[in-house]
Each structure stands twice: as C-alpha cells, then as structure tokens.
Homo-oligomer: 345 residues x 4
C-alpha cells in the first residue's frame, strides 16, 4: 500500500503518518518526489484494509493499494488451472462444457422434456431452478424441494448431473443433498453468510457475478468460498448493468480473459441472462467460446411462450441443437492446444 | 402491458398473439397505427410478468409495461405519508431525523464514547454494526451478539433507540430482540429470504438501496416486506455505482424526490457511505436535507484513524456537532409547512 | 407515441390532452384500461419528439415512444445489407475485413514499418491518426497534414487504402483529400456539425460509438450522415464506459448482433481501444469475429514501448500475424453461408 | 508515476525497465516490497503519459499515476477562488448566481416573455440556445444567427447578460460577438478544437460536464481552455449517465464539493437537464445551493407545453419565482461567511 502526502503537507504531518504506519505493524519506506512525498507500507498484506483509514489523517492526499486483495483465488498462489469435476464432466479442462435447461422447474413434464432435449443435443449438465430469486413478490417463486426431487429424477433418467441454486445459507444443506453443483446467483454474490455456507459444502459451487460486481469483488467472493474450505469454484459471467438498455444486461466478454489471467478457477458464460432475448443467444455463445470460456450456461425450454420465468430468452430445443453444433466447431479451433498464452508481446 | 408487433408482422401472427393474450386471461385491445400495430393487454396487473414471454412469439417486436409493478408501496394504494415511529422518534414526519454512530461496534469504550457524543450533538437514533458484510473474508467481521449487547447497553445509558443490521434470515430474530430498527444492507437489497423474514418482524426496517438497484427494484424489495406484513419500512439512498471514481459511490440525490412522488414510505440519506471521505459529508448532508430527505444516517467515530471499518468516511464528534447545527437551519426552511408539492407547473 | 394518464387524471385533463394531440397534427386513439387510460398518437413519425412536452401537462403520467427514431439507418427502410466499398475491399460483405496500424502517425520510418508489417500479415486497410484527440493539452496532438501525406505515401508503397480521423468540420475537406475512409472518433459521435460535414463528403465514413452512447443514439448519429447524403457508413463498437475498472472500457460485444438486427449498415469492432491492454486483443478479436462483426480495427506498432500514444494496447507485428491467422479460421465457420439468421425460435 | 513489477519479474526485466525510465528522462527510485518491486519515476510531470507504455514491457504488472494530470486548473497552482465577472455579475463570489431562460430561442415573442419573467423573478443572466445540438437530424436545430440577434435584443431590453452555446470552432467568433458567456455543451466537452478556440476568445466560457465525463477529464478540458489563454472558465454539473432510468440523467451532486476541493474555478449546477422533469427542478436546485454550488442554470419557458425543445423540464415563470425565493433563504445559510472549509477532521 502506498500513502501519497499532500503537496503542502508539513513535516510533523509526515512524521505523524510514519509513526502511525509503524504502530500498525508495517514498515514505512519514504520516497521524496518533485511534487509529492509518497510512503510505501511494507508488510504482510492481509488486513491492510485498515491502512485505508490513513485518508482521515492530516496531510494525507490519498492511499493507493498495490496488491490485489485475494490470495487463494490468485494465480500467484496456484500454478496451473483448477479443473472442477462433476461426475465425468471436467470444467476448466480442454473441453468446453455446456450446461442447459429451463430457468425454473415448472412441472415434471416440462423438466423431463427439457432434460431429454438438452441431453440429445449434447449438453453435459442440466440446469433448472427450484428456488427462484424474483424481483416481484407476486411472481412464481419456484417449486422448492419438490423441484429438487424432479431434478434428481431427471438426472436418473438422463444421466446428466444437475446444477441448481441455493438462495440462502439454510437452504444449502437441502440443495447439496440433491444437486451436483450448487449455484450462487447474481443477487447473492455478496451474500457472505451464504458464501461461507457453500464454502463448507462438499459439492462444487457455480458462483455468478452480480450485475454490479467488479472482477475484483467477484474474486473476493470466490475467496470467501475457498477460505471456508471448498476449492471447487466455477465463476460465471452473466452480464453487467450499464447505461445501455437495448439488451437486458451488457455481456462483459472481456471478463473471461481478464479473469483467466488473474485466477486459476474456471470461467463460464451465461449469454441467456446477459442478453435477455433468445435470438442473440447463438452469436453470444459463439463469442464466449471464441474468447476462451470454459463453458456455457444456456436456457432451453420446450415451450418458451408459456414459460413461468424468462421465456423471452429461452431457446427451443431445435435451436439449441444448432447452437451446440456451431459451438463445437469454434471450440475445436480455440481450445486446440489449450495452452496458456505466453505473456510477451 | 402493451405488445408492439413488427412492421411486417403477418395477420396470422397477430391472430396468434391475440389468442395467446386471451388464453392468459387478459383482454386484448388492438390499435392500428401508421407503421405498427399495438395490442393493449387489459386485466389484473399482478403476475403480468408472464406476458413478457410474448417477446418469444413470431411477429412480436417488443413488450412494454405501462404500470409500475409495486402496489402496497405505491402512493396509489395509500394516501398520505407513512410515519415510522421508533420510540418517540418519528421518521417521515415534520422533523428531519439524524441517525449516527460508528460503522462497526468495536469495543464497549468506543461505542459508549460515540453514543454519548452523538446524543449530545443532537442525534435521535444510534447506529452501529454488530454483523458486518465485508468484501474481504480477512477483514473484521463484526462482534456478533456481543456487539448487539453493547448496543443495548448504549441505549440504556443514552436513551437513544438503536438501528443495526441483520445479514441473513436466521439472524433476524436475534437482531430483532436487541434492536429498535432492523437494517437491511445495500448488498442484501435483493436477498429475498431476508426480506420475507424482516417482513414478519415486529420492528421497523431500514432498507438500503443497493449500489446498482433501480428505484423500481428498491420499491419492489420494499413490496416484499410490506406484502409479508410489516408496513414500517424506511428507504435509504446511499450512493450508486457509476463510471465516476473520484468518490466511493455517486450519491443519487434525485432519488429522494422521485421516490417520494412514487411512494408513501419515508426516505433517508446516508452520505457517509456514498462519498466515502469525511470532508464531504457535511455538504452532502446539507444537500440531502435541502432536497427533502426525512433523515440522515451518518458515521461518527471517536477515533477514525484507528477505526476497524470505514475510518476514512467517519466524522469526529466535534465535526458532527457542527453538522447537526447547519442541518437544523436548512431543515427549518425546507420542512416548514411540510406540505406535499402540488403537481401543476 | 403513447401517452399514459395518471390513475386519478380528471376528465377535463384527458380532454385537454386529446385536444392538444390533435392541434399538433396527430390522431388520438384512447384506450381505457383497468387502472390507466392510455392514448395512442397516430401520425407521421418525424418530429414527434415535440410530443414529449406532453409530460408537462396536468394529468399526464408519462409519454412512451413506440417507434425507433431513425429511418434511413433502419432495416425497415432498406432490405439487404449495405456493403461499403473501399477500393477493392468490401466491408459488410462475406469477408471479415481487418484494418490495422499505429494509433498515431509518428514518423515516416514508424509508419512505413507498420504499414509493411500489417500488409504482409494480411490486413486490408491501414489505419493511423494524423489529428489526435487527446485528453491532455500537453500530450502529442498528432502530425497534422504532414501525417496525412505520410499516410498517402504508405498507401502508394503498400497499396493499402487508408482510414484516418477528422476531428472537426473544417478538417473534413483536408482529410477527405488524402484518406480513403474518414473516421469520426468516439468523442465526436455527437459532434453534429462534423456529422453533417462528413455527410457531404464523397468518401465512406467510419463512425465510432462513443463511450457512453446508446445504440439508438449511435444510429441517430449515422442518420445525420445518411440524411446529409452519404450512405457509405461503417459503424464501430469500441467499448463503453461502465463501473468496471479492470479494463480501459467494456467491450459491448452484444452491440454487434443487436445493431445488425436494427440496421443494414456494416458493424466492425475495435478491441484495442476497448480493452487497452495488448495481451487481450487476440481473444477479443476472436470473439468479435465469432459474434458476427464485419471487420476489426487493430492497433499495431513496430515498437510499442516507445509509442507516443496508446503503446500499452498496441500489438507487435509478429503477434498481429498470429491474430490474422486465428481470425481467418473462425471467420470461415461463422461467415460460411453468410445468411441472415431467420427470426423464428 | 509508479511502475509495479510482476511478482515473478526477473532481474533483467527490472533492469530493462529502469534503463527505459532513464532514457525517457526520469529518475527511477526502486522500492523492494515483500511481494512486489515498485519503481517510482521522478521528474517533470507533463507528458508523463508516455510512461503508460511501460505496461507493454515484459515483467511489468501495472503503471499507476500519482499526480493529477491538470495544472492550471488545480488549486495547487492558484490560491483562492477564481471569480468570473460578467458585467456586474460575479460567479464564484459570495452570491449564488441564477441563470435562466428557455432551452432554445424560438421566436421574438417567446424569448422576450421569458427574458422579462426571469428578470423579474430575480435571475442575473439570461440563457437561450441559438445553435442546438439535437440527437435527431429531424428535430429543430435552432434559429442560428437570427437567434443570437434576438438574444442581444433581449439583453438590451432587460439588462441581463446572455449565455449561449457555440457548437463548433468556426461558430465561436460569431457567438462571441453577441454573447456575454460562451457555452460549451455536454456533448462537446471533449471537442478539443472547440476548446482551443474558446480558449482564445475574450469572453468567459461555461463548460458543461459531459454525460460520460469523469471529473478529472472535465478538469483536463478546462485545462485546454486555460492553456490556450482564457482563464475565465465556469464549470457546470448537469447530470451523468448511469443505469438508473427513472430520471433523464443522474445529478452528481457530490461533484460540486469534490471539484471545489480540486480546482479554483467556479462550479454551477443545471438541474433541469439532469432530471428532465420540471416538478423535480425545485428540490434539486435547493440541494445544489445547499451543497455549495456557485450558481444555477434553469430552464424557464412561458409555454412549456408548446416548447420546441425540452418542454418537459421547463418551469413556468410563476414556479420559477418561487424557486428563486427558496434558493435565497438557503443560500443565506450556506454562503454566510463564504469561507473555504478547513481540511482537518
């Protein structure tokens, strides 16, 4: 961390800051510039956030962080990529993994039809929500445990592992019992009690970036899970909120390579929630694979016009089949070799 | 809700949409324009969100909502303003209410010193966090129940009611036991299980807007609480996330009058979290009162340089005293009369 | 356009609005809903913006637009795609076109080396700035006409057509004299005198989206050029400004397919300015081609470490060669067939 | 400027960077931390932007700026506040100055009625646009020089100085001839040729912040004007673009005190364009004065329902009268003393 003094800071203000740095357990390193004096604070990184309080001290202009605040999620801590195994499926390995299914589990018939369709088309994991976070208290809130049981039945029939959401810490145990991957939704990306709870689960976690979450905050949320003992975390970019209103959210495609430079965790993309309109899901899926995503999360519904949730962005099964085919040709080019890019221009 | 057909939509596509509207229980009202056909969907509003799925139907260009999706929070449902009573303190009435105290409860000494100081300066409610949502798992996470007990003791000593945060549904019961007002933090504004739980509590709720929550979404979150049976909700604007990085967040001051036009609930402002630097808390507090806020939430710490949390934005007690004095002169002008502005230009 | 009345609007207020709509030359079409009365305004679209003033009338809740405000840029006006020809190069046709070169023309040596390199690697058009919009008055402002002459010389040597920026209306004539394509930069996307001027030029225009321009505004800026008589317009997505600070800007990859649904104009992508760091230019270029962009604009510099402008995001020639090769394999898959996606799910 | 090396940077990479810093004319100052080596670059600040190119060098993690990039606009360069004189009116002095009038000059009758009304109500300067930047080429584009002549006539009749916009460098001479203050609009905040041109004018400049402009960029645009020789610059906050769509733009009220800490230039607020709806202009004006703005820019129209531009946000004269009265009471409290806040908490 670096503390920048005001141009007119007095000697006693500087001394005061230096004293304070020492008392906080760090070693000050003063550097006199032409227009500013800056002080490097050398020491163990964790907890350094308290040094931010220096901004309240007389003579201090600003405090600047040098290091990223996450550790376990960082490439500096772990060489190579984390590969998350879900049954036979590997996320973060050479294959691009497709997870697909309806937004919400609505009925046995709907789920089974969707499950069969995505299986046939080539998806590797079935998605479907039993507990649904909805903006309106008057919207369909999901089937609850009954939905989880239907998901388990769909797994039996198709052999597809399932990913489904837990909305709060107390739900985790139940979801963990039925699911193969526990999803933490975009609105819960900084629900810290939930993060700690899934951090103690024995199943992999799919952590969605919030609409308002920076990449650094996303990695800090992953850090919560890792620090609680669960190292099987999959990150998911699903669109951020910006000024643009032509689409539901703005897919931050750059997040994929930027995250992959910073972290060893796998990164997948959910184009359906990002764009919100089914006709753009195919081109965005192509882009996601081309940019280097380890997988896709796609909404597929046998009858989108009557979906209880997110019908506008759901693909019909036959469109989804085409998507899988196109994706595979691009994945072949991009993931060929599957080597980390070397870092010299 | 209005469905706009594509300019080249065919007759059978239009018929299909009309049929579908009827089957969903709404009455279609077709209007032929020069370049577009639009269909009004007349009927009960709640649950109309399923009509959004029409965007997946052939020939449909877009679906536009006419009504706001909240009901109990709306001025259309309730005439007059909701006044939330916390002991003798009225929030939403003629007086501008000041809530103040440290970001986090750190020790008995720190809390008592802060409590005495804000009481003397003229604050009406004491704030302080016992459960702290922190971006980093390595930061101070709050004193937990021990902190709640200290808050209760500070209330005994000063007579000030206390407001403190519950971070998850299971914590609500405990927080309700000690607190006078239960706070739902910005990161939990769409934590729906938590909203339902505080909706069943017997204490008022202070609901903070999230960093990237629209006003409509904030009102929908309030609607969750109201629909669960608790009509004592205070809204709080605390800064939103934008492209500007000179300050911690961008205080959306316009949110206050815009919210007050839409809802009967009281609206307060937290300038400390919005701006993140103590030296701007005073001017922003003046602005908040001038724009019509029903109250302020201010961070005050007896020793900000050694605060475990948010030291940079905390005021020292003497600065806070000045703030209260300035605020009162402005409040006198603005809240004089205290009548709703009439709506004709 | 639709006018929504307040729930408690009085009869005389409604009558007043109806009268006013007629006097403005539109035909009102009243539709009585359960909770709101809405009035459709039927008539010629252009200039309807004056109807927005209805928001100032008593009893009016809001005014909603039904139609997009652009005409010439719209797919409704022109069937098929506009293909912009620059010498032998076709932008918007079956081939994905690569434009590359240094951010700024710095010297004859630098430009010639860059030009030769991008030509050999397979680029079709040479880019380079002679007039540079710089945030700081103290930064290198470009070589001016001398830079244009060097560009012309580079064209002679390599045969590559050149694209370069005009920053203001009076510069257009000069730039048009030397350039093959006139660029309008991101900061000038709503410089209306400039748009009108390039609208009268006889050369194609490359119009960059601003950092905070909506797609609709971008199309309105294109409309200025088209309405002034120049129908050779290429749109360019180059990243938007959001809350995320890990990269220079957020590449709005969805803009490509969404624009291509709305307009017949070609759409290219500038990943270099979007991301601001050279090591991410390759994956983003792949994504841009995969999503359906008609071309790429890439910064290439023979010696990025000594560039006077944007060195951090410039590729060295050998990296650029790899990029062209990768791009071609993806383009083969995506642009195969080159048919517009049909619009039924 | 500080260069942060990667954790695994090699010795020869560090040496290479040090060599390069020296060759660029700066003195390197190496500081070895526990996890990172950082290098301070000591030397003259201007033009240091070329050091950003170091991000392209092997072993470099990132480059961080220490100093703000503006000089003449900074409080470090000039003690005390700049007070801009327009006739007898002082902007930046103890009085809060109100500028008001219609968005666009539409006719002699409209302008004279507006001018008389704002004069009577207590405004000090008349605003009105003759050249109008409009999103649509089909909207009213302003009366041009005829409008400027009407403004001059209104000045004769009322004695009010006038402020009006120049949209491009070639227009400046004409506007300067008629106007007392030359406005640079939000969309032109980074129109550098225009900034250089008004920098050579002999009249004060009202520089509006763009919808997408950071405070630092705004100050850099002011720097262009100051560096060109014109030190009479007034900054204007007029709302920024964010994700929130309940209002036209988000008024960044914090910009006022933050700017006033960084610069000696006066700062005014335009609440009309920020919010876009007349009924909120009063509370936002109160907030702007309370936060410390040196003035207001308010749209007033004698007949908003028939305005050719921005009718929805224009106040009728009688509403404006009330506004002036309320503003004065608040200004009395806030600008009393008119001393710069001292900087110690």
């Amino acid at each position: 961390m670096i503390i920048v003094m005001k141009s007119k800071a007095e000697k006693r203000e500087l001394d005061n800051v230096i004293e304070w740095i020492k008392s906080a357990g760090y070693e000050p390193h003063v550097s006199q510039g032409v227009e500013r004096t800056i002080i490097g604070c050398i020491g163990d990184e964790r907890g350094k956030v308290v040094l931010m309080a220096a901004e309240n001290m007389p003579g201090v202009e600003k405090v600047m962080r040098i290091l990223q605040p996450y550790k376990l999620a960082s490439r500096e801590t772990k060489e190579g990529n984390t590969v998350v195994k879900v049954g036979d499926v590997e996320i973060g390995g050479p294959k691009c993994v497709i997870m697909a299914g309806p937004c919400a589990v609505e009925s046995e018939e709907q789920l089974m039809e969707a499950a069969r369709a995505v299986k046939e088309a080539g998806a590797s994991i079935l998605r479907g929500g039993a507990f649904k976070p909805r903006t309106s208290p008057y919207s369909f809130q999901g089937m609850g445990e009954e939905g989880l049981k239907l998901l388990a039945r769909a797994r039996e029939k198709t052999g597809l592992p399932i990913v489904t959401e837990a909305m709060s810490a107390p739900e985790v145990e139940l979801v963990e019992h039925y699911a193969d991957v526990i999803q933490v939704g975009a609105r819960n990306v900084q629900n810290f009690p939930l993060l700690k709870e899934v951090g103690q689960a024995k199943k992999p976690v799919l952590l969605k970036r919030g609409m308002m979450t920076t990449l650094e905050e996303l990695l800090m949320s992953a850090e919560y899970i890792l620090a609680s003992g669960n190292d099987q975390v999959i990150l998911c970019e699903r669109g951020i909120r910006t000024f643009e209103t032509s689409m539901r959210n703005t897919l931050d495609i750059s997040a994929v390579p930027v995250l992959k430079e910073k972290t060893h965790l796998p990164v997948i993309v959910d184009p359906s929630h990002a764009i919100g309109q089914w006709q753009f899901v195919l081109p965005l899926s192509r882009a996601a694979v081309a940019v280097g995503a380890d997988g896709l999360l796609i909404e597929v519904h046998p009858d989108p016009e009557h979906a209880l949730c997110d019908g506008a962005q759901s693909l019909k099964p036959e469109k989804f089949r085409n998507l899988v085919a196109e994706i595979e040709s691009i994945a072949k080019i991009v993931r060929r070799g599957y080597a980390k890019a070397d870092g010299a221009n």
